[in-house]
Subunit: 214 residues, 4 copies
C-alpha cells in the first residue's frame, strides 16, 4: 500500500529538514514538499506538526533501543564498556537528543489525548525494556534501572542543549578562549557523565540496603 510509503516519506522529509533547522523553522509546507506531496496531505497522516515530530521521536527511540540492545546482547565485561556503547549509539542518532528536548515543552502540548497516550505507552515500554537491560547488564538492584533510564533521559536533554549552542554563542566560544569551558562535545560528555552515574548507582547500591526511594 502506498499509504505506508507516504507516511514514511513524510517522516523522512521531516527528519531531513530537522537535521539542519530548528523545530520552529521547519514548516509543514516544506515537509510536504520534501515528500513530494501537497500541503494539506500531511494532515491526512498526522494530526498536527507536533504529532509528526512525536512519531519521529518514537521511531528514533525505538531504533536507538533496538540498536543498543543488540549491541549489548553479548557478554559485557565492564560498566565502562556499557557506557561507551550507549554514548556511541546515542551520538549516532543526533536527532534523538534534540527531539527529546522538544518532547516535554512542545510536542506533548499539541497532540490529542489518544496520540499522547499511545506515545506514552510506547515510551513506557521502551523505558521498561531499557531499565531491564541495564539492570541485567550492570547487575543492578531491582528498580534502579528505571531511575537510571530516567536520569539518562534527563542528562541527554540537557547535554544536547548545551552542546548545540546558538550560532552567536558558537562564534563567541571560538573567539574567546577564556570561555572554552563551555565548548563541550556531546559524545564525550555523555560518556563521562553516564560513566559517573552508572558507577555511582552501583556504589550507592550496596551501602543502602533499604529500597531506593522514589
Amino acid at each position: 500500500m502506498a499509504k505506508k510509503e507516504r507516511f514514511e516519506a513524510l517522516l523522512s522529509s521531516g527528519a531531513l529538514l530537522f537535521a539542519s533547522q530548528e523545530f520552529d523553522d521547519v514548516s509543514m509546507a516544506e515537509i510536504a514538499k520534501g515528500a513530494g506531496l501537497a500541503k494539506g496531505t500531511v494532515y491526512l497522516y498526522f494530526e498536527t506538526k507536533e504529532a509528526l515530530f512525536l512519531q519521529l521521536l518514537s521511531d528514533e527511540m525505538r531504533a536507538w533501543f533496538d540498536n543498543t540492545a543488540a549491541t549489548l546482547t553479548g557478554p559485557v565485561s565492564e560498566a565502562s564498556e556499557v557506557v561507551q556503547i550507549i554514548a556511541s549509539t546515542l551520538s549516532g542518532r543526533p536527532l534523538l537528543p534534540r527531539l527529546l528536548g522538544l518532547l516535554h515543552p512542545i510536542l506533548e502540548r499539541n497532540v490529542d489525548d489518544e496520540t499522547l497516550f499511545a506515545f506514552k505507552s510506547r515510551l513506557l515500554e521502551l523505558t521498561t525494556n531499557a531499565a531491564d537491560l541495564f539492570e541485567r547488564v550492570l547487575d543492578l538492584q531491582a528498580g534502579m534501572g528505571i531511575s537510571l533510564t530516567l536520569w539518562m533521559h534527563a542528562l541527554t536533554i540537557g547535554l544536547a542543549q548545551i552542546a548545540a549552542p546558538a550560532a552567536a554563542v558558537k562564534s563567541l566560544l571560538q573567539t574567546d578562549r577564556s570561555l572554552s569551558t563551555f565548548q563541550i562535545d556531546f559524545s564525550t560528555e555523555v560518556e563521562s557523565a553516564l560513566g559517573a552515574l552508572f558507577s555511582g548507582i552501583q556504589v550507592v547500591r550496596r551501602p543502602k540496603r533499604s529500597p531506593h526511594k522514589r
Copy 2:
C-alpha cells in the same frame, strides 16, 4: 536613582508572571504593566525579551549559588549531605531550572553579542566558583568540579522538563495508573540523581589516574 528601581521592578514583574505561565505566554506588555510602566519603556532597560529573561536567570543563578555556598561553608561530613543541600536550594528556586531550560534553545538566540558575552562571563565565574566549592567540599580531584557542575546543569534542565508536564500529560498520568513511572518529583529525583553522580565521580576518581578527558 529611579533607574535601578525600574530595572528591578521589571525583573520582578517578569519573574512573577513566569512563575505561573510559560515563557511564550508571558508578554512584554504584561511585564511592563506589572511594573507600572508602558510597553515601550521596557526596551529602555532590556534589549529584547530574551535579554530580560537572561538577566532573570543570571540573578537566580547568583542567588542560588550564594545561598548554597553559604550553607556549605560549615564542615560537611558526607557527600550525601552536600547533595541534600543542593537539592534543597535548587528546589527552593523553581524558576531557576526552568530558566536554565530556556537558556540554550531560546534566550541565547536573541540577545546581542555584548549581552551574551556578559552573561557567559558571569556564568563562567559562577561555574568556576561552584566547581571549586564542590571540589573542596567533596574532596574531588582537580577539574572534576567543572564536569560535575556541567552535568548538574544538564540534569537539572532535563529533570525540570520531565517533572513539569503539559496539562494533558498531567491529567493522563493521574488517570492512568500504569503510567505512574512518569510521575516524578523534581526535588526527590534531583537528590537521587545527584547522589549517584557525586558518588560515581568519587569512585571513578581513584582508578583513573589520568586527568579527566574533556
Copy 3:
C-alpha cells in the same frame, strides 16, 4: 433503483446534520458517512455542497406547500385563520426558514447554471401556486398573491435569523432582562407579522384601484 435511494439517503443525512449544526459546520464527509457512502460518492449525486442543500430546500418548500395547500383546501372563513395555518405549517418545518436564508447569499452562488435554472423554475411554479392559493383563499386582487408570497418569503428569512441567535447572544438575552425585547419566538412573530401583512393587503386593495406597481 438503488440510485434514487442513495440520493434520498444523502438528502436525509444532510437534513439531519443541518438540524443541529450551521451550514458551514456540516461537512460533506459527514453527510457521506451519514448516508453510508464515501466522500467522493456524494459528488456523483450532487455537483456541489450548495446543490445538495438547494435540493433540500426545494424538497422542503414543496412539502410545505403541499401541506399548506391541503390544509387550506376546505372553506376558510377568515384571514386570521389562514395566517394561523401558514404560521403553523411553517413552524413545523424548522429547516425551511433557515434554508431560505441560505438561498440567496450562499446556495445560489455555487451551483451550475442548469441546476440554478431548474431550481428557479421550480421556485417559480411554487410561488405561482402559492400566490394563486392566497388570492383565492383571501379573495385578493389579482397580482397581490405574488407580492404577498414574496414578502412572506422575505419576512420568514429575517425572522428566522432573529429568532435563532448565536449562543453568546442567547445567553446574553437570558442574563440581561432589559434586552428581553430581542427575545422573540419565530412561530408567534410570524403569525403576527403575516396577520398584519395580510390585513394590510386587503385594506390597501380597495382604495387603490390602480394595479399594484412592480
Copy 4:
C-alpha cells in the same frame, strides 16, 4: 487626536470595500491598506473583523435613524407618506440592509461579550426610539411600534437578500423572461411591503382590544 481619525478611516475603508464586495471577500489586509495603515494596526481598533463590521452597522443604523427621525419630524399627513420616507431613507443606505443580514448569522458570532452587549444596548435604544417614533407618527397602539420595528428589520433583511442576487442569478433573470417575477427592486418592494404592514397594523388595532400578544 489622531486616534479617532484612524478609527474612522478604517471604518470608511471597510465600508468602501464592502460596497463592492461580499463580507467574505473583504480582507482585513485590504481594509488596512485602504486606510493607509498596516495590517496589525487594525487590531488596535477592532477586536475582530466582525467587530469592525458591527461598528459599521451601528453607525449606519444610527445615521439612518437620525435621518429618518429628522425627516418625519414635521407634520405627516398619511401613513403612505411615512412609508415612502422610510423606504427612501433605507434605499439611500444600501449597506445597511446588507449589514443587517450579516448581523445575526455572522457578526454576532465572533465578538466578545462586552462588544456584543454594547451593540445590543445601542440597538435596543434605537429600536425603542424608532418604535416610539412610529407609534407617534402613525398613531399606533402602545407596543405596536416595537413589533413594527422588528418586522421592518426582518423584512429588510429578507428583501435585501432577494434583491441582490448572485451574479449567475442576475444573468439568468435577464436572460429568461419567464423568471421576471424574481426580478425585484429593493426600494419599490420595501415601500409596498411596509405599506401593507403599516396599514395592517392600524386595521388590526381596532378590532382587537386585547393587548398585542408577544
